[in-house]
Symmetry: D2
Subunit: 133 residues, 4 copies
């Protein structure tokens, strides 16, 4: 499954060159991730409470293909690339008028509330794996 | 005493109009506040630990007089306007090449770590009051 | 008319205290303003092109009444308070579960593309005034 | 040459988990890049004017090794990895109390003010290459 969510590029996310600042692509990736969890029936703010885990990022990357400008109607897509024992990796694309504006990934690791690396909870893993079918 | 700290306007803080985004003035106010506490010998991240308080904002305002652009060397000034029983109010100015670019204020209230409003600790109040002389 | 738009508080907009950072309220005000113009049939990125004006902010203020936390479903309301010859002022509220989380305003002034203060275009003024009925 | 610049982690750059948000590492990379150009005698806002080029990013990546928290005194290091005909790639590290908190890179491409890809100006290339000795 590829999850998709539409966003508008906000004025504040652009810079003097008239384009979205490169760091903000990661903000839109994350906003898409939040909506992805919601679409799976998991309110993103309750993952901590329900499963006792947080998902800090261990690796991110982005390739920029075309500029996004103020008010552009972009679509961010998320695909779960891999669910490991302790990690989950998402692939992202940003589409701007059917053109690929950017491609990237975000890899997270499960930690408990004391920041110790732990296994992803079984139920959580199952839900994520199911989303990849 | 008027506390002063110099900053460079960062590229990411500008927008498509080529000027610093209006919301970012408040970020520079806060960065100046952080350096102000350091100048008083209070590392800003230790106020919570030492005094058991946080200082959420209850009111802010800003008047914008002149644009700030990428890489401008701005000076932010902070003056403690008032130290109440439970609140502290700072006045800020942003100077850009000796011109006033913005003026504003930020009013904070003391809460304990459970977010209950409390009195400002006596020692904390004393240090702040002394800074106004 | 009171314009309303719903947003989710994003993780990136919160801080170590677990609440939305005070500067980000102004970002949500602006995002609401962008949706407001869209609702009037004016794509926000075309105001510059169509009317030859920009609307830099001259004054902003916000009173914070209750914290907003990660993933809260907030509703931002915008009401045009006043349309002057050269200025427009919006009143904003942020509602969080029917509680007022914040109230503020943003006052803008019309400038042409050379940053000279100009009158608001007649058609633009008419559309804004109509929205206040 | 490895260029180094110290920063304080600002409150606004942290999130509910009490750590610097992963997207903000790229902001500190860029702030370091701005100071790097200044150290070479090129005010970063004048590159556009002097050389008629901009340096949009085509690829970025970051590996996160250890959290950065509010008020941490971090040191960002920049090393020019490669100066191509049209591209420049910087390697970055973020050091937090002598521990590597993050490692990443940013690859930029030269475009003229119409966003056409162009060769890096000879003088500009020479200055950058010299910095790698």
């Amino acid at each position: 499954m590829i999850f998709k969510h539409k966003f508008r590029v906000r004025w504040v996310d652009t810079d003097t060159a008239g384009v979205m600042h490169f760091s903000n692509y990661f903000r839109y990736f994350e906003a898409c991730e939040e909506e992805f969890y919601r679409s799976l029936g998991m309110e993103p703010d309750r993952i901590r409470g329900k499963y006792g885990i947080m998902l800090p990022r261990v690796e991110t990357a982005c390739q920029y293909k075309a500029a996004c400008r103020y008010n552009d109607a972009i679509e961010v897509t998320l695909k779960v690339r891999e669910v490991g024992t302790k990690t989950v990796t998402y692939d992202f694309q940003i589409l701007n008028e059917a053109r690929i504006a950017a491609e990237g990934f975000v890899k997270c690791i499960a930690v408990n509330l004391d920041w110790k690396v732990v296994d992803l909870p079984e139920e959580f893993t199952k839900i994520l794996r199911k989303s990849t079918l």
